[in-house]
């Protein structure tokens, strides 16, 4: 026997890693086989996980779409500078040139007072009122658009202060009201989403813990005998961890499926609505990063739940 011992490890060593990988693959497949052996209950558990995961995933997508929709109205973060009435066309042009070179400014458009008057005339309704006035009551206006890095409310406000100090600006206006409101609302939505995701993540974890706990109870005899013949904790743990991994993965995949299905159902009506508004807005789908996040999170929750169940219950089962 001792002679045999000396011989085998040396002969076996080169393929140790392969044996180890093969064992893991076997255990992973065996765990998959266990799921397949009771398809109905497995499917129910997976669907519960899928539904719980699809809610935060779907809401995340909704939020992203709303933010994208808001992005179409970037113009809201523009600053209008009304120049003093006596300012000439040339002076206005030179100011525009100076502002264009400032940091944080993406674009400056000069709205000539004559041009503006023409516009008003064309729009109609004002024609009578304008005729009653002598001369052109409108000033030159510079429309300044901050670059994306400076269009948040605080930077835009700072830019406004600076521009107001420049001659011959008489009045500067930054309409941020709705940008601020919108930001406040999305912030609330984002936090709500985080809370919801945390709660539902917890639910997923608990479902997995409970499922694995039942599985451990069902396999009590097997665990006892494996311990009896010298199975390490790691060896005994492994099939349950793989089971958790599979539950997580399939739960994540079914959540992906559910969200995609909902998107598909919504895409038609959304396109029609966007058409009515003359918008080319299309619903953003699950981009690869979101899918990876969803599946990765689901797998982690599955593994984590299995780990918790195993840590809690495997020690209690000892052969007698």
């Amino acid at each position: 026997m001792s002679g045999d011992r000396r011989r085998t490890p040396a002969a076996r060593r080169p393929s140790r890693l392969r044996i180890w990988l093969l064992r893991h693959l076997q255990v992973a497949l065996a765990s998959l086989g266990r799921l397949a052996r009771s398809p109905l209950s497995s499917l129910m558990t997976i669907l519960v996980l899928g539904i719980a995961l699809s809610l935060p995933a779907g809401l995340h997508l909704l939020l992203k779409n709303v933010q994208q929709l808001a992005g179409h109205w970037d113009g809201a973060a523009t600053i209008s500078l009304y120049l003093a009435p006596e300012t000439g066309r040339g002076e206005a042009g030179r100011l525009a040139e100076r502002i264009r070179r400032l940091v944080g400014v993406e674009q400056v458009t000069l709205i000539d007072r004559e041009q503006a008057l023409e516009e008003f005339r064309r729009l109609g309704g004002f024609a009578g009122a304008l005729e009653a006035l002598e001369g052109n009551p409108l000033p030159h206006v510079l429309v300044v658009r901050p670059d994306p890095a400076h269009s948040d409310p605080d930077s835009a406000d700072a830019l406004l202060q600076r521009l107001q100090g420049m001659k011959p600006v008489e009045l500067g206006q930054l309409d941020l009201q709705w940008v601020r409101r919108f930001q406040a609302i999305t912030e609330i939505a984002r936090r709500g989403l985080l809370v919801l995701a945390a709660l539902l993540g917890m639910a997923v974890l608990l479902v997995v813990v409970n499922t694995i706990r039942l599985e451990i109870q069902n396999r009590r005899a097997e665990i006892e005998i494996t311990k009896l013949i010298g199975g390490t904790d790691a060896f005994i743990r492994r099939p349950f961890l793989y089971l958790g991994l599979w539950y997580g993965l399939f739960g994540g995949l079914s959540a992906w499926l559910l969200v995609s299905l909902s998107l598909w159902l919504l895409s038609g009506p959304v396109a029609r609505l966007a058409g009515l508004y003359d918008s080319r807005f299309v619903l953003a789908g699950m981009d690869p990063a979101t899918v990876a996040g969803l599946l990765g999170g689901a797998i982690l929750l599955g593994l984590g739940g299995a780990w918790l169940a195993v840590a809690r219950h495997l020690r209690d089962i000892e052969p007698a």
Binding site: M1, L228, G230, D233, A320
Partner: protein, 221 residues
């Protein structure tokens, strides 16, 4: 191979399953353990397989001090001690082959090696033709032999058997004892608990007699 130094096992509740037992079994010995029901035979075997821990005293197996063995070391100790039970303790949702293969799989042996050794073990117990069947379809004697094959498949230096012939007829009991004698011939240390005094006297081996947790007699019959 097996040393007990003033070993006491007190169960929760205060009852002493084993009281101050000292004994010494050499490598390659085949020893019987007998005594009335409740004398402490199973307790003694469980201490060797670390299914229980001693309350006092020291147990050593193959140079390993079990008193100080850490929890995570227990599996490696159990791989050196094959255990056979009266109730077989087989897994009924696995084939005979898979049952016998368990100790090798647990030890991380390769597929080919596992197949070779399992068949060798099944051949020894005369069940080579049954490797694909489920244990539930086997007779009690056959199931016991599957349990024996599982206990010896990884060639542990020590094999413990707790009433291995408990519900078998005399003919089958004799066969199983012959099997044990063959293992003993290749150097395995065996400790067998049994009530069957007739069997013991016929084999003429060293016999330890327990009574109420104490070692009453240590005799070579």
């Amino acid at each position: 191979m097996i040393h007990f130094d003033n070993v006491t096992k007190r169960y929760p509740g205060g009852h002493e399953g084993l009281s101050n037992v000292s004994l010494h079994i050499d490598p390659g010995e085949m020893v019987f353990l007998t005594g009335h029901s409740g004398a402490g035979k199973s307790t003694l075997l469980k201490l060797i397989g670390l299914l229980e821990r001693s309350t006092r005293g020291q147990v050593r197996v193959g140079g390993r001090n079990l008193t100080r063995l850490r929890r995570r070391q227990i599996p490696y100790h159990r791989r050196e001690v094959g255990m056979i039970f009266q109730d077989h303790r087989l897994l009924y949702d696995r084939t005979v082959f898979d049952n016998v293969a368990m100790p090798l799989v647990v030890a991380g042996l390769g597929h080919a090696e596992v197949g070779r050794r399992v068949r060798a073990a099944l051949d020894k117990v005369g069940l080579l033709n049954k490797e694909k069947v489920y244990p539930i379809t086997l007779s009690g004697g056959e199931q016991q032999r599957v349990g024996i094959a599982r206990a010896v498949v990884s060639r542990p230096p020590v094999v413990l058997a707790d009433e291995p012939t408990g519900n078998l007829d005399p003919e089958l009991s004799r066969e199983i004892m012959q099997l044990f004698e063959r293992f003993n011939q290749v150097g395995v240390t065996l400790l067998i608990a049994t009530h069957d005094l007739e069997l013991i006297s016929r084999l003429g081996r060293r016999t330890l007699t327990l009574e109420q947790g104490r070692l009453l007699r240590d005799s070579t019959a």
